[in-house]
Point group: C2
Chain length 328, copies 2
């Protein structure tokens, strides 16, 4: 039986809940900070008839529960600090992305992980990879459908709605490129398997509907090895009338074909024409994480992926903050 504790209710804890099996037991939950609203998490576990102990202090929870796995999804700036604590305690961690909102925290994580990597595993919540359309695109590219990748265009577009107060401060939120854009950085890294060399980015807080320091729009331009270029457009301006919360897109242009993910569908254009591709089955990131913990397989999202994509996201944010091209 794997003992699982959950810290926070501010991210994608549902990935963990949906991936639980009979050999998992959620024994404790706690907020990341005293004022964090845990109601979404409490409602979800109550509906699953799970009755963990509720702690007011996550540190005390770790001391008392001694979990095997820690699910970390609190105020974004704290996720990395708690991940560091988990790694130091040799607790496997399923942690919200970005895994750090500062270079300082990221370097500490990298350093500690180097020391404990044979004993402990962690993964960032890049659950979008496991959606059928992204798995299908990855499969097509891996099978050579586009030939050599030359250009990638990605998009993240979200409805803004009304976000918790901690989104309104860079110090607690981390920025829109690290919070929203990082998913597309992960797709580019995962699908191209190319090294990122540099980034130029811009972002703007204008028209953010009272969300303080939150950036409403951002644009990133990545240069990868082999003169492969990748664009990333990010916005919180998806209208409330839109049929879905998000409008995730990816277009992969290669020497033999173009694969496109749009409207949760996948299209391939090549010498045979343009057509929709049937989707493969969806995956589940927490199940994948459990497989790795149990020594039954490899999790598709690795600690190295989680560290690298966070680094790239923070460097993109740095570029946007400074107006400079940043080497990666």
């Amino acid at each position: 039986m794997l003992k699982i504790c959950v810290i926070g209710s501010s991210g994608h804890f549902r990935y963990a809940l949906e991936g639980l099996d009979e050999e998992c037991s959620v024994t404790g939950i706690a907020p990341g900070v005293p004022e964090e609203d845990l109601s979404k998490l409490e409602k979800a576990i109550s509906e699953m008839n799970i009755k963990p102990k509720k702690y007011n202090n996550w540190w005390e929870m770790l001391e008392k529960e001694k979990p095997d796995i820690l699910v970390i999804n609190t105020v974004f700036s704290l996720n990395g600090k708690i991940l560091l604590e988990a790694l130091e305690r040799k607790i496997h961690a399923f942690v919200e992305k970005p895994i750090a909102t500062t270079f300082e925290d990221l370097e500490k994580i990298r350093s500690v992980y180097q020391k404990v990597r044979n004993e402990v595993f962690f993964t960032a919540m890049f659950g979008i990879r496991y959606r059928p359309h992204f798995l299908t695109a990855k499969k097509l590219v891996s099978e050579g459908a586009v030939g050599e990748i030359r250009l990638v265009n990605t998009q993240k577009s979200y409805k803004l709605g009304q976000r918790p107060d901690f989104y309104k401060k860079r110090e607690t939120y981390g920025g829109t490129i690290p919070w929203v854009g990082i998913h597309a950085i992960d797709w580019i890294h995962w699908i191209t398997e190319k090294k990122f060399l540099s980034v130029y980015a811009t972002h703007s807080r204008l028209h953010n509907s009272g969300h303080g320091e939150l950036e409403t729009t951002a644009l990133c331009h990545f240069t990868l090895e082999d003169e492969v270029f990748a664009s990333l457009s990010i916005d919180y301006l998806r209208p409330h009338g839109a049929p879905t919360h998000d409008d995730d897109r990816m277009r992969i242009v290669g020497t033999k074909g173009i694969v496109e993910v749009i409207n949760e569908r996948v299209f391939l254009t090549d010498e045979k024409g343009h057509r929709e591709v049937p989707l493969v089955e969806k995956g589940q990131i927490f199940e994948d994480f459990l497989r790795e913990i149990r020594g039954q397989g490899k999790c598709m999202v690795t600690p190295e992926d989680s560290i690298l994509t966070t680094e790239i996201a923070l460097k993109a944010r740095l570029s946007a903050d400074t107006g400079q091209i940043v080497r990666i």
Copy 2:
């Protein structure tokens, strides 16, 4: 009766032929350089039963025919030099874009145009503006459908096929950003009506199927006034099996809605939902040009637009050549 001469057969002369009326007479054609293949132009005018005199030397043609209008679409690097000659002779010009492939030629054009602007008119062949889907997008944005524009994503994707030899040298071709990308620069300028402040761009000649110095892919990142950002993805990798030659796209994200041009259709997403918008009627750029020449109206593409978009395209190319952010 307006006397029209045509130089070259290497661009969009068809815009002019399609826009001719009874008050136009094509009296002469000539290559821009002796080796230029005029067969496409000759075939097209023959099918229209037009029988102009053919000259081997365009300079001689100008001397003898003294046209009212010059259609210029030869080897790209010459278009600006011939435009300059036209302006100096006070001949109205319908000229291929970019109107120059070097800053030096562009500055000469700007300078001469300043002196003759009350006597002569010219326009670059931005005919894509007049396609129903782009006119529809412009109309929607002008009517306030997206509110304040915050972000624009554009795409130019072409089949490469086998291009004439002059495409294989930067000196004669000018580059893929100025040749292909400039259209999207024009859309961004025309639809946002915002001042461009800077550009960061990259381009690559890899995998260009034996096309020498031609860039196969490019990515541009523009910063406009009011923290508006615009992306432009360019490629010649559209597979031969694709249903159309090009895959032009534009996505305009504003504070109240998103307008998207894709597959020659237009979609609007706003608080009322997501829907396709009926297209307005197409326009015709040469007819529009003739209206201005005849004092019957204003041409939608102005000399100022033609100069500015060429300048931005050349600065984007400079950015890609140098790896630096370039101020506009």
